[in-house]
Structures are given as C-alpha cells and as structure tokens.
Amino acid sequence: MASTLSESLAALLGLNRAVQTSMDPGVTPLGAPRPRTSTPAQGLSTEELPGSTPPTMRPDAIVRRVCLAVPPAWPLDSLVATHPFIGLDHLHPVDAHAVLERRLHAPVLPEPALWRPLFERGAFNAEDVRWAVEELRRRGPQHAVARGLEAEALLGLLAGTAPAHPFAPERVLSMAARLDEELGTAFAPAIVADLSKLLATRMDRGVARWAQPLGEDDPGLYTLWWRYACRSLNLEARGVKGFRRWVRALPSTWEAALDSLLPRTTLTGEALEDYLARLLGELQGWAGLLRGEAWSGDHDDPGAVPQLLTARLACDVAVRELLGGRAPGGVLLPQVPPREPPMGPSAQDGLSRFALQLAAEHGFVRRLLPTLAPARTGGVAVHLNLARASRPAVQAMFCIDVRSEPVRRHLEAVAADVETCGFAGFFGLPLAVARPGEENALAHCPVLLDPAHRVQVGEAPRGSWAADVKAVLGAVRRAAVSAFTTVETLGFAAAVPMLAETFGRAGTETSVEPPLDVSSLSSETRLALASKLVDVLPLARPWARIVLLCGHDSTLRNNPQAAALACGACAGHGGGTNARVAAALLNDAEVRAGLAQRGTPLPEDCVVVPACHDTATDEIRLLDVERIPASHREDVERLMDSLKQATAASRAARVAALPGVDAGEEPLEAARLRSRHWAETRPEWGLANNAAFVVAPRSRTRGRDLGGRCFLHDYRAELDADGSVLKLILTAPVVVATWINLQYSASTVAASVLGSGTKTLHNVVGGVGVLLGNEGDLAMGLSHQSVHDGTAPRHEPLRLQVFVEADRQRIHDIIKESPALGWLVNQEWIVLYALGPEGRDVHRYARGLWLREESDLRATLLM
C-alpha cells in the first residue's frame, strides 16, 4: 500500500521523484504505529511494539517499556536539553499526542489558540493552512478527508470565530487520584510528595546537613523506600491506617514485589501499560534523573526507574487495599478508559492541531527558502569556497548554537576579511574538567558522549593564614542555617550584599581566567586530539593566520537553571575551556611537528586564539591572550575591534527584544544589568524560537539575516568523500538540536507538565533540581519565564527544519542506517530538506521520498 500511495502522490502532484526508492518498510501512513524493524541498537526488541500492547505481553516487558519511555534528565550543574518524548519518538506526533494526553495529561501538539498571534501578524496565512490540509489529504484519504479536516474550520479556530474544540481527552488516573476525586481528599499528591522527599534525600548533594542514613549500604531504591516506609508515619498521619504493617508484608526485592503487586491492579495488556505510565508520569522529574544516572553507561538501561515504579505502585495498591472500602461501591480501581479506535476523536483533534503545525512551519520555510538560495550572481558564491582567491585574515569558529548566528553575521559585515564557520561548541574534545573545590570533574561534551580526557582548571588555594580564616568563615556561613549564634553575628553582614545586589549598578568586573593545566594529557594523546581537530573542524585549508575558536557561556546570577543557557554541546558548561584546550593543543610546537609528519601541517604563521562569547551580554572575550606571540598582537587587536563592533550591533538588536528595556537604555548597560541582577528572571532568551538547522557551507547563508533562529553547521560535501562527516553531523549535532527544539516546544506547549513552571516558586532541591513551592515532583524542562514574556510565548513551537546541502541518496542512506535519526525523520519529529547546488533545487524528505519544493518556492518568489 505504501508504494502505491507514494506513486499516486507523485502522479497526483506532478512532483519529481528525485530519488526513487522503495519505501522504508518501517514507514506506514500517518496515524498507524510503525513496527520497529531497525537494528536493535536502541535495545527494544521487535516484540515491544509501541502504541498497541499485545494482551499476551509479559508484565515485566511492559514495565521495562514504560520505564524506557521516561526522558533522561540531568542535575542542575549540567542541565542540558532532553528529548521530552523519548519513549514515543517511534510514534507520529499525532499519535504521541493522544498517548501523552491520556497518560501525562499533557499535549504534544499546541492548541490552535497558540498559533493565533503568529497568524495575526502574518507569520503564516490562509494559503499555508490550505496547503497543510491538502498535504495531509494527500497522505491518504482515510485520514484527513474522512475526518472532515477543513481549512475553513481551521481558519475559524485561528480567527477565534469558531468555538474552541469541544474535545476533552479521556485520562488515565491512579487509584489514589480516583479516591481523591470521589472524596475530596489529597492522597495522590501526598504520595507523590512523600516519594519525592525520599528521592531528594537520596540525590542530595549537600543541602541537608543530616545525610540520609537509610542507604549507607547502597541497597537499591526499592529497599531504601521499604526501609523508609516501614518507619514513616507520613501516610498513616494522613489517614492511610495500617500502611506500615502493609508495607512490611511486601517482598524484599523489587522484582518479587512487582510480581506480587501487578496482579492486584486487575489490569493487563495495554490498560496496564497506560496505568503504569501514568504512575511514573506523576514522578517523571525524579524518574528522569534516575534514568539520567544510568544513561552514560547504557542508553537502554532504565536504571532505578523500575524500582521507583514499584514503590509508587505499592502506594497505590495500598490505597486500594486499605482505603478502597471508602470509595463509592466499596471497590477502588484505576481509571483507564479504553483506547480509542485509530480514527477516534483524539486522533481527529490531534490531526487538526498537526495541520496548523504544518501550516505555521510552511509559512516559516516559505520565507526561509529564498534566503538559503545561493546568491543571484550565478554560481560565484558556491565556488567561492572551493577556489578562494586568497586566504582570509581570520577564520572564526563559533558554536552551532542559534545565538552565534547574529554575531557571526555582524562580524562578517564589519570585517570582510573574516570568515566564520559553525561547529559544535565542544570543538570535538570530550573533556572532563576538574576545578578546585569541586568533587567530581565535570563533563564538557554532549551527553551523548562520555568524557575521555581530564584537564585541570585553576589551582587549589594554598594553605595561608588568610585562606584558613576564609575556609572557617565559609564553613560557619554554610552551617549558619542551623546555628543560632552565627546568625546574630554574621547576619548583619548580609545587609551589604543585599544592598549591592539590589541597588548596585552593573559592574564591569573583568575576571581573570584561572590557569589551565593540560599536563594530564600525554604527548600521544595531545597529538591524537589535535589530529582529530584538524580533520573534523570544517575550516578551509590552509588555515588562516589567526584562527579564532569561540565557545560560549552565559553570565547569570542567582539562577539555578543557568546551565540551560550555557553551551549544550559542553553539557551545560562554558565552552571557553574547550576552546582554550583546543588552542593549547594546536599551538603546541611538538604537536605542530607531529601534525606535519602526519601530512596535515598547519601553516607556520597560524595562531589559534581561544575566546568565549557571553550570550547574556553579547560580549566576546579573548582568552589566554598572554600566549599570543608578539607578531600577531596587532592583528589580534584589529580582530578585537571588529568583535566589539559586531557584538555591539547584535547586542542592540537582542536587548531590544528583552522585556522591560527602555528605548533609551544603553544596550551594554542594560544587558549587563540583567545578567548580573539577582532578581532577573529573563536575562536572555536563550535558544527560544529556534526553528531550523542548516548543514551547508557558510557561503549559503553569508550575508543573510536568519534572525537568530538557525543552528549553522558548516559542511563541505566535497571534503567528505565517504560521507562519514555528514553521518556524524546528522546523527549527533542534528539529534542534539532536535532535543533542544523539542524541549523548548514541550516547555511552551505543555508548560504545566513538561516545563518547570514559574521561577518565582522555584525551590532548589538537593542541589540537583528544582521543585515548585513546598513539595512535589522534581520539575523538568524550561521555566515559564524562559519561553514566555508574560503576555505571549517567545518560542514558536515549530519543529526543527533541517536543511542539508548534500547528495540526496547519501542523506537517505544515513537515515536508513541510523535508527535514532530515522525515527525522528520518518515519524516527522523533524523535517529534512536536501539543498542542491542550484537555488531552486530543494527537496523535502517525506517518508522515503524526496519531494521537490519547487512549487512552494515559486509561490514565494512571486509574492
């Protein structure tokens, strides 16, 4: 059926089928679950089908699948984006939407009202909506047409004239939640709060002075809970009489407990799966952190998540067995509404939401595509890179982060002899960076990788008398929360920082970077790392006289989620360290000699200069300047001037977009004030509004205003004979960017469940996360303030539109070989376009087909 569909589609639309391929057997039309036929690299065997659960499926397999659907999360000091729908990405967003509404009571696709402001300001128009409806109808008559998906109805929703959709999805509820609904009690939140508290004590990195004494022998989470629940009167005090005795009767291992508890829920098959997913969904923040713990070892290891599920299940069964009699009818059961038929009202609701999603994205792409077309002056732009007339004075390498784009654009504008390019901001160095006073070295590389090389930054303070006193005062200050006398004496001193932080002006402190020590890397390692850098960094050869490696970081104050605004490719840390290490390696004489021997010499006069872009203030600071040889000083100063001009220009535009900035405010002052004020909740917009990812030479985008919405990764197909570089880009940076994109979208669309709520209520727990207010689950995702300015969302939840300038067949092969990428593309979590060398040669990947986008482009050019 699939191939007939695609053929008829092609015939119907008269589209070029540039790449004739049989459809991936895994691809089925929208709305139906796709059997997993890909390699079991992700660990799920084919029997573990998403969407539908065979009634014969063993309960332990169901448990495993439910646990693997929990998105991993990371502690605050390395808070990076996570894929909020990780267990559902083998489903189409429309199906995932229905599943999530059932289980987590959260949408995947935005409600129509969210698109209204975009529609009203013309970001997309009625034509786009009609195009989207057509597009969906093309996919198979049984969907859109039969559902009565009408463009006019959608337009009515956008205009607000049609009544809001009356559809209310049926939701799964735990037994405790059912009882609460009936009796007006609060058992379900109490259970969540109780488990949450216990998990907080287990994860605590040193907030509580009294370390939790229950698990010194590291007994596993279930046993920990069991020990706790046998003693705690929490639930008994709330009215669950006999809870402790009930817990004591549970088996001592979590597997046995699960075997004993699962049958007592009376559920099997997909109802059981929905129910268990709901239970875990109530604690997904902590579950995510547990998953994250196990993640670095094995991405398919659920870690302690099943044990957490067992504990939560035990509490729910306890409510049933101890309090069930109080429910009307005397029997308490979970609420698991039967699943809808494939074309039920949920799917219908999801489909109309998806249509608007498509329409909004179409509006965006329609504008972007002409920008990505090569310059009108024929093929000159394309060839500029291949046969450059001269070597540029400076090559400046920036992170692919969307915040680099405006700075790069302005830098190129003020200095024509500077060439910029984009690469993941960890510069390919999987570092673990150790700092004095911190127990563990912190990873400075994407969470998909494991750090392999340890370097030291800064020196431990020497044992002087002053340092001694300082250490004692520090210990006393930290202990002050629990000591009476110190509060009276040291308390007065707190008035000074309060005054300074609240009424002080933004300082211009210039911190000196701590010394960097790479001596832990052997000379072989250094050469190996440098060789890799020379191979992967997409800099045209020969390298310029000055090569600037610019990482990024964000100076923020009093912000527990600050890592989310630092460099994601450096695991939520500043990219400056990676740049410094890379420069130290590449400038090393011994390494240079080794590189020359290897046949990849760097020009003698090439000096690599590390830098760091502070995204909160848009200032770029050069690092380790004292290491720059005198011969290059003058050129570097010129570069610094250019950087100053460029950042001033990009800063002016960025600061104007911050809420509450007066027209008269000096941008640098305004930015610094916000970055350093302890009460600021919106110091910068981070990666909000990210929408596209361009994998192409800079010539494709140079001189174009991409509005800070695009990830830019340099790629030259002609230097990548075997396609391995492209494969790396598509399976690593693109996947990471997709996670970022989905995280921002989920935090915008499902703010109350998948976002971390308002910063005004953030309460740091254990140093690993935040919760809202008094108690409850760990909050996940981005805060309300990160994606919303108070009146409207600042992130348009567009799916990531990925544009790749490469051979279509090669892209197609990579999609087939990489299951993780394959799901994202085939199930439409991202949209992939191939750019040909010619301006109009744009193809969209559609479930194994390449559809030529010519008609759209023409429409735009005619406008």
Partner: protein
C-alpha cells in the same frame, strides 16, 4: 521637632501604601508604571533612612510619645486610641524592616516582571511592609492590635497570589487560622489590661506596671502576659502552631523573604515592646522558655534533614524564632532584639539568593569519628567560653547591677554551646588549621557577646526587668538546668551527626524529622476538615 519627626515616620509608610495602590492605574512597566515603582521604592527607602537618622542623632532618638487620636470608652479617664511611640527600640526595628521591605520591593518589581496580577501583588506587599511599620510605631495597644491583624490580612493576600494552586490556598488558610487564634489571644490581653487599667496607651500602662501594684493588678498583668505569650507564639511560629511557616513557600520568593525577615519578628517585638508589663508574668515567661526551647530543638532537628533549600531555610526560621522566644522568656530582651535584627538580614538575603547553587550546596566531606567530633566540640566550648568571659571581663560585667540584664549568664552559656557546634564542621571539612578555627569562632563569640551587651546599653532603658529563670520557683530552677543541658545534648548530637548517618544510626529520628514530626500533616488535615478546598481549585 519630635512631633514632626514622629509624623514623618508615620507618614512615610502611609504614603508608600497609598502610592502602591495608586500604581494600579498602570499595567506592567508602561506609562507611569516604572516611575510609580520608583516613587514607592523611594518612600520605602526613606523610612529606614529616617529611622537610622533618629538612632544616630541623640536629639531625635529620645523616647517620644505622640498621641494622635483618643476614643473615650467607658466613661471618664478610660481611653484608647492611636498614638506613636518613637524610641530606640522602635527605630531599630523600623530601620531593619524598612530596609528589608525596600530591598524586597525592589527585588519583586524585577522578579515578577510579566507576572499576572503583579501590580496587585506589589500593592499588597507594600501594604504588608507599611502595616508592620505602623505596628512598630504603635504607642497604644489598640493601634498595635489593629496593625497586628492588618499585617496578617495583608500577608494573606500575598500567600494566595497563586490561588489556582491548591497547596497555596491550604497553606494560606492554615496561616489564617493560626493568625485568628493569635488575634483572640491579643484581644484577650488588650481587654484584660484595659478593664484593669482603663488605658491602652503604652507609657501609661508601663507607668502603672512600674508603680505599686494591687493584687488585682498583678493578676491582670499575669493573665495578660499569658495571653500575650500565646499571641507571640502564633505570630512567631512556635511549636505546635508553627507548621504554617514551612508550608508557605507556595508564594513568590520575595514573600518568603519578607515573611521570614519582617513579619514573624512581630511576635518577638511584641514581647520586647511590652517587656515592662511582663515583670509580674513569671508563668508566661516560663511558658515562653518551654515553647522556645521545644521549638528551637524541633526546628533544628528538622532543618538538618531537609533537602529542599527553601524548606530548610523555613524550618531554620522556626528554630531561630524558638531561640528568640527563649531569649524573651529568659528576660534577655536586648539579646532577643539583636537576634531579630541579625536573623532578619540573614534570612532575607538567604531567601532572595536561594537560587545560587554554590551558596546552598555544601559538599559533604569525610565524617569525623566520634572522638574527633567531640574533641572539636570541646575545643569550641573552650575557645567560646574564653572569648565570652574575656568580653565580660573587659566591659566589667559582673552579672548584677543596673547594666545587667536577666538571662545574660544563661544565654552566654547557650551561646557558647551553639557556637561550639559550628566548630565541628569547620574542623571536619579539613584545610583549616586548629588555630584559625579557634580564633574565628572565639572572635564570633566575642562579637556576639559585645553586640548583646552593647544592645542592652543602648535600648535597656525602655525594657522591663524580669526575674531570672532560677528565681521563678521550682519549675524555673529545674529549667535552669534542663535548658542548657538540652542545648548541650543537641550540640553533641550535631557533632556526631555525620558519623551517625554514616553508621546508619538514629534512623527513626531521621525519618520522623524528615516529616517534621507529622505536626504539619495533622494540622493540614485539620485545616482541610475545617475549611475544605474547592475541588475546582485543585492543581
């Protein structure tokens, strides 16, 4: 001059509140919104500046009573009304709460940018600050009681800022009910004093309490003292009516800062302000000693277990307020004032900066064994005692005479014990040498002693003198031994804590402490039963 100054102190909070409500005309920062915020901040800043000026200028700082309104009640000579009492005590507290109020307001203006109902929130915030200031200025019990209630009603509006969050509503109601209990106690005290002395003007009452007392007078003062103790316990979150305080984290951070640094203080201020009335209220003071010790101990145990930053801070306030109430119970009112001021600054800063990871997480070092821990504690006791005795010697404090305050001796002992407790972690974290630790902690102990003695010299004249704990009968004598012993036991337990936890000991105590000894849960059930939340509001 004095009258003008008193009117200025009265006018600034009133104007600030007025301006804050006038600011509702503008939404967000548009129009005059930003300027209006600046005006409000200016007025809020002016109040503590004026108070500090009064403290520094001897001519302004003299005690001054300014009657404003008087309502004749129950015939001739019986009157109550509105009056201001400006003296070093009220100016001190005015300076601190005014400073914290201004900082919190400025913080909130930025922090709540884009927030729905922000302007309303700011107006209630300023109203709360202003009513606290009027409470501090009250020279008449009628006004004081009125402001006492207004503070809690204004604060209630801040606590239900997120009214769609059920937990916020339940916590606010818990606080509301406790406050009303406190109001009843307050009004009882007012009624008792008025019916006996026929006036509510503070100087008149103080005069009456100082003069020759009849049996009826003594009884009235004793029972009014008990009622005041209950009122203060409700306001300052004493066990068992404490659990509203750790639960009210369901409103924006600035509210916590204000509440913990500017509102819970009111209980302590009430006792210090009315200390001249408490000389005959021995049983009330003894009750305060018991409540304070219990609260300090329970609060501290629970604080140690809490892994959430704000929760730990809130429980630490419970514990600190317990300590402050204990100080009042001992009669060490100027020490209690020092504590209120220091704690106010500390806690406001701690809440406002509670998002700074490096400040709230202290990685746990190796646990010292019992010998080393107790050795550390012992050294702390020695260096602390030496420092405190040194200070006493230097200032010529002898434990008796006009410049001696009750409770100072006992308090000095407790102070040293509490400080010695801080000695253990400084040694355990390593790095610091023995001498540095002993020097710093001795210095801190000396500083604390100096501050307390200095404060007494400064505000002593307006305070009452109450009998020493051991002079209050058998119970008092027993408590004189029990209270320091309990503090010593806590200090020993605290020193052994890392080791105990490593050994998996004291698990039961930990589990119950983690849950706040279930008092909050039971109170929760009571509140939900008395005042069921609408199910629609459930989050």
């Amino acid at each position: 001059m004095h009258t003008g100054y008193a009117y200025l102190l009265l006018g600034l909070p009133l104007l600030a509140a007025l301006a804050a409500w006038g600011r509702l005309r503008w939404r967000g920062d548009g129009g005059g919104g930003r300027r209006a915020d600046a005006v409000v901040t200016g007025l809020l800043v002016a109040a503590p500046v004026a108070a500090v000026a009064g403290l520094l200028a001897p001519s302004l700082g003299r005690s001054h009573f300014e009657p404003l309104l008087s309502f004749p009640l129950r015939g001739e000579g019986h009157a109550a009304g509105v009056a201001l009492l400006v003296d070093r005590l009220s100016l001190c507290m005015l300076a601190v709460t005014g400073f914290i109020g201004a900082v919190v307001h400025r913080y909130a203006v930025r922090f709540l940018t884009g927030e729905a109902r922000r302007e309303r929130f700011l107006a209630w915030l300023v109203t709360t600050v202003s009513s606290v200031q009027l409470l501090l200025l009250s020279g008449d019990l009628l006004m004081l009681a009125g402001m006492w209630m207004l503070v809690s009603l204004a604060l209630h509006q801040l606590l239900v800022h997120y009214r769609e969050r059920e937990r916020a509503v339940v916590a606010a109601r818990k606080k509301f009910l406790v406050s009303r209990l406190g109001d009843v106690a307050m009004l009882t005290a007012v009624g008792l004093l008025f019916s006996r002395f026929g006036t509510l003007s503070l100087p008149a009452l103080f005069d009456a309490a100082r003069g020759p007392l009849g049996a009826g007078d003594t009884a009235a003062l004793a029972s009014a003292g008990l009622a005041l103790a209950v009122a203060a316990a409700c306001k300052s979150a004493q066990v068992p009516v404490h659990s509203w305080l750790p639960d009210t984290l369901e409103s924006p951070t600035p509210v916590s800062a204000l509440m913990h640094a500017g509102v819970v203080n009111a209980g302590g201020y009430l006792l210090i302000r009315l200390s001249p009335l408490l000389a005959e209220a021995g049983s009330a003071l003894t009750l305060l000693v018991i409540l304070g010790t219990l609260t300090a101990g329970v609060g501290m145990l629970v604080t140690w277990t809490q892994p959430e930053v704000k929760r730990a801070l809130a429980w630490s306030t419970v514990s600190q307020m317990g300590f402050m109430i204990l100080q009042c119970g001992l009669g060490a009112f100027s020490a209690a004032l020092v504590h209120l001021v220091g704690h106010g600054f500390y806690k406001a800063h701690a809440f406002l900066a509670s998002g700074t990871l490096s400040a709230v997480v202290s990685p746990r070092g190796p646990a010292p064994g019992p010998g080393r821990a107790l050795g550390g504690l012992g050294l702390g006791l020695v260096s602390g005692t030496a420092a405190v005795l040194g200070v006493f010697h230097l200032v010529g404090w002898t434990g008796s005479g006009a410049h001696a305050e009750s409770g100072t001796l006992l308090l000095g002992l407790i102070l040293v014990i509490a400080l010695a407790q801080a000695f253990v972690p400084t040694r355990a974290e390593g790095g610091a040498s023995l001498w540095a630790a002993a020097g710093v902690l001795g210095g801190l102990a000396a500083l604390a002693a100096l501050l307390t003695l200095g404060a007494h010299a400064f505000i002593g004249p307006v305070l009452g003198r109450v009998p020493e704990l051991w002079e209050r009968g058998a119970v008092g004598a027993a408590l004189t031994l029990i209270v320091p012993a309990l503090f010593l036991a806590t200090a020993v337990f605290s020193a052994l804590l890392p080791w105990l936890s490593r050994q998996g000991r004291a698990v039961g105590l930990y589990v119950h402490g983690l849950n706040g000894f279930y008092l909050g849960i039971l109170a929760d059930r009571l509140v939900r039963w008395l005042w069921p939340p609408r199910s629609a509001a459930r989050s």
